[in-house]
Structures are given as C-alpha cells and as structure tokens.
C-alpha cells in the first residue's frame, strides 16, 4: 500500500485538499444559513417546532436519495456535491443555534433592552456571543458528518477522496481495490481529525474568555 501512496501522492494530496475545501466551504455556508434561520426562529418562536421537525426529518434522508433527487436539477458535478453537503451540514448547526440563541437568560435580554439596545444590537452583542459555544459544538458535529457526506457526493463526480472509495468498490477483487478503498477511508478520517483540531482552535480564539469552560 505504501507504494500505492508514494506513486500517487500528488493526486492524493490534491484530492484531499479538494475534499477539505468542499467540506469547509459547505460548512461555512451552512453555518451562515443555520444562524440566520435560528435568528428567525428566535424572533418568531412559533417556528420553533417547525425547525426542530425539519432538522429531525432532514437527518433521516439517506445521502444517496438526496443526491438522486438533486441530480435532475443540478446535474452531475461539484455544484450538486456542494448543495448536498451543505444541506446536511445545516441541520445540526440549526438545532444547536436555536437552542443556544433561545437559551440566553431572559434577564440578560431584559437588561440589554432596558439599557436601550435595539433588537439587532441585542442579537449581535448579547445573544450571538453567548450562544456561540453551543453553535460551535454544532459546527463540530456538522463538520465530522460532512466529511462522510462529501465522500458519498463523489458518486456524482464531486471532488475529493470519495472517488477512491468508489473506485475501490467498483474493482473489488482487482489488484488495487483494497488500496483505493483504504486510502479513501483513511484520508477522510485523517482530514476530519485535522479540521476538527482547527475548529477547536478557531473556537478558542472566537469565544469570550468570560464564558469559556
């Protein structure tokens, strides 16, 4: 297997980078979408159960099914992969963001309003920073999950390490079948660990010292 890696190391690194790039981009977009949705839910509490239901049902949709649904609309390629990963990535973040934003102590909100902060200021300066650690936890879950989803997205020729796994599966019994599958899987695991580490670091830098555990 070592020879296999050495022979193709440039290609593997390139695909690994593509994989990470897709996931980071999709999770970043998902974070923005999820926070915006959660803000809406916080403002209109009646949407709370709708949001919960969506994230619960969304997570039960099999990845392949979604890819299949998207293909007629967005074709084969990285766009479909991106939308697919982004969809799943949004769900855990949304759930945590709703819990985090709503979990801010009412007395703090009242105190902020009592000092003359407008609704936008309360959201930006009180709710969001206080909910941030909870949202971050959601982003970490989302990132791990997205690594796997992105591998499945390779089925529609999305970029990344997923193609190795599919190649391996396609030529079962062949000379390099195991190598392909192993490199694909291990690559995904290593990347997931690296990105998680990075996220922990970002989390430390962006969480106020006053609420860090």
């Amino acid at each position: 297997m070592w020879d296999f890696i050495v022979e193709r190391h440039q290609q593997i690194l390139y695909d690994g980078f593509q994989h990470a790039y897709l996931v980071v981009l999709a999770v970043a977009a998902a974070t923005v979408i999820a926070i915006l949705l959660a803000m809406l839910v916080t403002k209109v509490p009646r949407l709370d159960s709708v949001a919960n239901m969506l994230s619960a049902i969304g997570l039960t949709i099999p990845g392949f099914a979604l890819v299949g649904l998207l293909m007629p609309a967005t074709g084969i390629g990285s766009t479909t992969a991106f939308i697919c990963v982004c969809f799943y990535a949004t769900l855990p973040i949304l759930r945590n963001a709703v819990v985090g934003l709503q979990g801010v102590e009412p007395v703090l909100i009242e105190s902020a309003r009592g000092m003359g902060m407008g609704e936008a200021a309360v959201m930006a300066r009180v709710r969001l920073p206080l909910a941030w650690p909870v949202i971050l936890a959601g982003i970490r879950v989302s990132l791990q999950m997205s690594m796997g989803i992105a591998a499945i997205a390779a089925y529609v020729l999305g970029p990344g390490l997923g193609s190795y796994i599919f190649s391996g599966l396609a030529q079962i019994g062949g000379k390099n079948a195991l190598n392909y599958a192993l490199v694909g899987t291990l690559g995904v695991v290593v990347l997931a660990l690296l990105l998680d580490l990075l996220l922990v670091l970002v989390g430390r830098l962006t969480t106020s010292k006053g609420i860090r555990v």
Partner: protein
Amino acid sequence: MTTTPTHGADDVSGIEIELDEVVKRYPGQKMAAVDSLSLTVPAGEMVIFVGPSGCGKTTSLKMINRLIRPTSGTIRLGGEDISKRGADELRRHIGYVIQGGSLFPHMTVATNIEIVPKLLGWDKARIAERVDELLDLVGLEPDRYRDRYPRELSGGQQQRVGVARGLAADPPVILMDEPFGAVDPITRQRLQDELLGIQRELHKTIVMVTHDIDEAIKLGDRVLILQEGGRIAQYDTPEMILAAPANDFVDDFVGSGSALKQLTLSRVSEIELRHPTTATVGEPSREAIARAEAAGDGSLVILDSRRRPVAWRFLREVARRDTVLDGDREKLVTLDERATLNDALDVMLASSYGGAIVCGRRDQYLGVADFESVTDHMRTVEKAAAEEVAADTGRAEP
C-alpha cells in the same frame, strides 16, 4: 483624589418623575396589576417602592422605562410624556440596575459599563475616562478590575459594577429593581451605604424596588408602600411611616419593633466618633506604635495615601514588620457615615476591636464608632424622639 465628581454636593442632576393614573392590566387577568397609580417623585430624591410580593412594584418600575407599556395613564419625566419618545432613546437616558447586576458574562467589566455611552456615541477617550471614574466611585480599583470578567468577581463586586453601569451615561433618572437582593447581609449593608454615598454626591432621581421594609426605611428620602394591585397604602418620609402608619396594612407591614426601627432612622453621622491613633501605609512601624502607646491605644487604624482605611491592626501585629503594610480594603468592614445605627451595632458586634471604622465621601476615613457613642446618642435623642412622635401622631394627615 484622581477624579473629580461630576457634580457638586448641592447640584441636583435628577429630574422629576410623575405618574398620572397609570394602569397596567396584563392580558387574560381579571385584576389590574397596577390600578390607577398616581404619584410624583421629586427631582433628586431617592424613592423606594416597597410591598409584598406580587403587589405590582416591578410592573410600576418597568413602565417608567417602557419595558412595560401601560394600559392607560401618563408618565412624565421632567414634565415630558415618555410615550412621545422612542423607547430605545428614552432608555439610554434612564439608568437600569437589576438584581445581581445581571452583567453580560462575555464582556469585561469595562465593556459592560461602556454599553450605554457607546450607544450614545461618546468618543473613546471620554468613555475610557468615564469607566475609570465610575469604578472609582463604586469602590473598585480601575487598574485591577477594568479587564476582569464578571465570573472573576464576587457577588458584591458584580453588583457594584451593575450600579456603575446604570450610572454610566450620567442619566438623570435611575431605576433599580431589588438591586441588593442577591448578596449576603453584610455586603448588602455596605452596598446600601455606598449607594447613599453616591447619591449624596450625584443627587439623581432614583426609584428603587425592594420587598425589605428595613432597606426602604434606610435608603428612602420617601417610601411608597404598595398594596395588592399597585394601590398606595402610604407615601411618606420614613420618619412619618414609622411614627404614623396610615392604616393597619402599613402597621402590619412595618411590623413590630418599630422602637428598634428608630435605630434605623439615626445615622452614624449624628453620633460623636472616637479618633484612635492612625498610621499611614509605608511609614515606620516604630513611630506609629509610639504614637499609639502615648495615646493609650492598643490598636492602629491603617490608612492609605488617600486617607482611605485599609486595615485595623493590634499593635503586636504592626510590630512584626518594619514598615506599616498595606491591607486588603475589600476585606475590611467599614461603615458609611450615612449608615444607620442599626447597621453600626451589627458591625461593632462582629468586630474584635469593639468598634466600627466610619468613612465619608469616597471612603475617606472619619473616625471610629463604638457602643458608648451609640448609647450616648440614643440617650440624648430618646426624650426628644418621644416628644416628636407624640407631636407627629397628633397631626391628622401627613
């Protein structure tokens, strides 16, 4: 002194608050929470709303800064109808202090205090200067506390920052909802004294809510006793409420031991203080001890360079070091001169020196109160008080 007060002692920076037949009926409730409340809080006075739980104190208070919208009636600040002003704009000119300080845990002490000045668009230099001035005012060293987070402060310190935050933009009106409800009794008494000191300096119009009649009597220029539904049972000076309760409700609420409560009406500033030997931080111990021995004192009150007391030590403790050491001001229990004799007795009983250190404006050392000075004072006023009460009760209406 590194800071100058914003106002001279006789400036009134507060404005009048007027409630005119204010009603608040919450949706789905038969009884109004506040039923036609009319009262005037004079500019520069501290008025305490007191009453049993659920009588509508908080509701009344929050209508003044429009956190709650009255069902009907008018509220005027300085003669101006508040419903004509934008809610956020109005609130930036009213200090708001609630239980525990409710500081934002993710912001430093300075950032918490800066909130309203920032909303009002003050420039950076002015805000920084203001933060230090306020921390100084509430007895927290700016250099030490400015960059701390709330969780790095004790309950009492958090509450002090809460008060500083309420005062930040120098609002004419300050609303406080049970501000000292979450701290232990000794800290509460200190915070009360400090508030009296601050008010003596700033003369804001303060409305405070409490359920503690002793706190109301101690702090209020006037006390509003509320009954179920926000109806006024009595609105009067603490002296008159003790001497001539308007009805049975007030009588019950003020409770027994009103003779003892008279102790709450006498301030430490009225009694003759002792002046034991003092020493300044950094001076040679030998000289200080010599002075004390010459005066026949067994202990020394230690002051810092700004004449604030930092410790009270027996001579043998002082003798252990060559120079007089600094102490932790946070740990020293002192009395404000506006503290009541009731508080003074409390502190004296807990002190191993049989007395209590008394401070004036900005923690300036004034002297020491002891049991003898309290009993002396009580004896001299006893007769006068008895006559006064008799005269007051004679008056039919306040």
